[in-house]
């Protein structure tokens, strides 16, 4: 027994010494500023692109950014309780939300997401949907695929005499928020009877958990239609509909068409829903996703180094990092949006002093 105890002691002290040695080594190898770790949390839509960009950022500059995918509401809550450096969200904070938090919040657009209407129909016809038809389907007013209203905008498609199974998200999500926002914008009846929210009282249909849940149900159910993130629809090979935009054109969702939806006048704080965009070649169901952070960074005893590292990381995300968007089927920010992001980042202060006055530079990684 004694032997075991003493050998354990030796072992554990050996570990202790080894680990001390390890951290010493690290300290000498890296700049002290590189030991700062930035923490972000929120929107699961942004997660794949954020992890890719921040991993490349780490490779290029050695800085560490950790992003957790917990959903937009979670991201807002974590920022409100000051547990993270920045939050990720698919819906912007209203003036009322910001007032509740009690400190100015800056929104940085990071990329654009689109929502595709995927469906499962015999013979895989490519179909067109107008806002009226789509909202009527989700209100439970159009229930058959061969409804004259659907046929009218799809003169060439052979539509089956089949019941429409409407699929929606069962879990609260930013995607549902943006989708119900779209339906509210295009159909006053939807706005008054259902409304906009991460979880709503769906008039009809079945719910699937997450994009994968909806995709699973659509693949399994002939005659079904559901909304998923465009990235997800493209990568799973689901068939998705062309949607009529505000200018009256039927637009097949694509990265280009989604990007076009941001070609409108953006407000300086980027708090705008580009849904149902006026641009003639825009896909109508799209939205920015944002990183949100406090305008005044000196709170909770934060250091200036921490705040600078945060602003620099977000700068990289909205500039150099944008090149990683397209390979992952994300839509990169158009130039006007990048300029809005720049101005927003330059407005971040520490003790009232701007943290950045021009594009930041990074020391080459050692």
């Amino acid at each position: 027994m004694k032997l075991i105890k003493s050998s354990l002691l030796v072992l554990s002290s050996a570990f202790l010494i080894a680990s001390c040695g390890g951290s010493d080594k690290q300290n000498t190898q890296k700049e002290s500023s590189n030991d700062i770790s930035i923490l972000g949390a929120g929107s699961s839509f942004g997660f794949p692109i954020y992890s890719k960009v921040f991993s490349e950022y780490h490779n290029a500059t050695g800085a560490k950014v950790n992003y957790q995918s917990i959903g937009s509401s979670g991201g807002i809550k974590q920022l409100t309780s000051k547990k993270v450096d920045f939050g990720g969200t698919d819906k912007f904070l209203t003036d009322e939300d910001i007032q509740k938090i009690g400190a100015p919040i800056v929104h940085i657009p990071t990329c654009i997401g689109a929502i595709a209407l995927a469906y499962n129909l015999e013979g895989n016809p490519q179909i067109n949907l107008s806002p009226e038809v789509l909202s009527a389907m989700y209100l439970g007013k159009i229930t058959q695929w061969n409804d004259p209203k659907i046929q009218a905008i799809n003169p060439d498609a052979k539509l089956p005499n089949q019941k429409i199974t409407v699929v929606h998200r069962s879990d609260g999500s930013g995607t549902s928020y943006n989708y119900t926002l779209y339906l509210s914008r295009v159909n006053p009846e939807w706005e008054s009877s259902v409304g906009t929210g991460a979880s709503v009282k769906w008039p009809t249909g079945v719910g699937g958990k997450g994009n994968e849940g909806i995709a699973g149900i659509i693949q399994q159910t002939p005659g079904s239609i559901g909304y998923v993130e465009l990235v997800y629809a493209m990568q799973t090979g689901l068939k998705y509909a062309s949607i009529q935009n505000a200018a009256g054109n039927f637009i097949t969702p694509s990265l280009e068409a989604t990007k076009n939806s941001a070609n409108i006048d953006l407000p300086a704080d980027s708090r705008i829903y580009i849904i149902n965009s006026e641009a003639t070649d825009a896909y109508p169901i799209s939205s920015f996703t944002w990183a949100i952070l406090y305008k005044e960074q000196n709170y909770n005893g934060r250091t200036k180094e921490q705040a600078t590292a945060l602003v620099k990381a977000l700068w990289w995300l909205t500039h150099q990092g944008q090149e990683f968007c397209e390979p992952l089927d994300y839509v990169r920010l158009p130039n006007p949006a990048v300029q809005v992001a720049e101005k927003a980042l330059l407005s971040i202060t520490f003790d009232g002093q701007a943290l950045l006055t021009e594009a930041p530079t990074w020391q080459a990684k050692k």
Binding site: I70, G71, S72, S73, G74, I76, K163, T165, S170, D171, G172, S173, G174, V194, G195, T196, G197, A198, S199, V200, K201, W202, G205, V206, G207, G208, K209, G213, G216, I217, Q220, T221
Partner: protein, 301 residues
């Protein structure tokens, strides 16, 4: 006198025993603290909806987070309905399995093979049951729905119940097997001596002997069905309404919590979900207590 003396020496020489006992009882009391702690947390968390909705919360049919109307009735019905149907489906199967393993093949390679399979089934993560159901049971149910002439979605109460039934079979069966094995041999030999066939032996001797144990296993299985979340969410259709028939999409209490908790932005929505958790806690406790009382009564007989 002598008795006293031994007690004293017991105290002195077995101090380590005393420490051991204290450790054990601390752990046991910790369990009680944990239970009470959970209950208090749930009650505190649901105060906002208790204040605003009162008793109507459990009887209202409408669940609309935007309008802040919260009624838990659809979920209570969904939970009880899926669990009861699952129990009804699984009971004959789990009884057959337990008789097979507890009476016919008590020992040997067949018995150990099937026992291991049973344990393996109990250990499969529920998300895997959910996936399997989505790809194999859903099409079958849809085929039945087409034959019956009702909307053929394949997702709903019935699909969820079948998945739950499969999931709870290992629990009910393994407990029943153990109690069936415990039937005293002299009773059985007596039965055979009187000329009973094997079926008669099971019917009149083994089953009555094991009844309370079987009941306990069934209740454990029912409790598991009440709280199952992931597999149910994947196949029940997640429609927050009261189902009109057993093929309709519906939702359960555990499933609505899992679905909406992470994005519940308003305080009242959060409180409503916590209150559903509280109700689920109470319902599970209720069935447990009823079961315990029933078992006690049987044991007295």
């Amino acid at each position: 006198m002598t008795n006293n003396k031994t007690q004293v020496s017991f105290k002195n020489s077995y101090r380590s025993d005393r420490i051991f006992q204290v450790t054990l009882s601390t752990a046991a009391y910790l369990l009680l603290v944990l239970l009470v702690g959970i209950l208090i947390t749930l009650v505190l968390g649901s105060i906002p909806t208790i204040k605003s909705h009162g008793f109507n919360f459990a009887f209202d049919k409408v669940w609309n987070p935007i309008m802040e109307e919260f009624g838990a009735l659809p979920f209570i019905i969904g939970t009880l309905l899926t669990s009861l149907i699952a129990l009804a489906i699984s009971f004959p199967v789990s009884m057959s399995i337990s008789l097979f393993l507890g009476e016919y093949f008590k020992k040997g390679s067949i018995s150990s093979l099937f026992s291991n399979i049973l344990e393996l089934l109990a250990g499969i993560p529920s998300v895997i049951y959910g996936f399997t159901a989505l790809f194999f049971i859903v099409p079958i149910i849809r085929w039945i729905e087409i034959k019956l002439g009702i909307p053929a979605i394949g997702l709903g109460i019935m699909t969820a119940s079948i998945v739950l039934a499969v999931m709870i079979i290992p629990y009910a069966a393994s407990i029943a097997r153990e109690v069936l094995k415990l039937t005293p041999n002299d009773l059985k030999e007596g039965g055979y001596a009187l000329g009973a066939t094997r079926y008669e032996l099971i019917r009149y001797i083994t089953f009555p002997q094991a009844r309370s144990g079987i009941m306990a296993g069934t209740l454990l299985a029912f409790g598991r069905a009440l709280g199952e979340t992931m597999a149910v969410t994947m196949v029940i259709g997640n429609a927050n309404v009261i189902p009109k028939n057993i093929f309709d999409p519906a939702n359960t209490m555990a499933s609505i919590i899992a679905n909406e908790f992470s994005e519940a932005s308003s305080d009242l929505h959060m409180a409503a979900l916590i209150e559903i958790g509280l109700l689920l806690f109470l319902i599970t406790a209720f069935f447990n207590i009823i079961g315990k009382l029933y078992i006690k009564r049987l044991a007295k007989k």
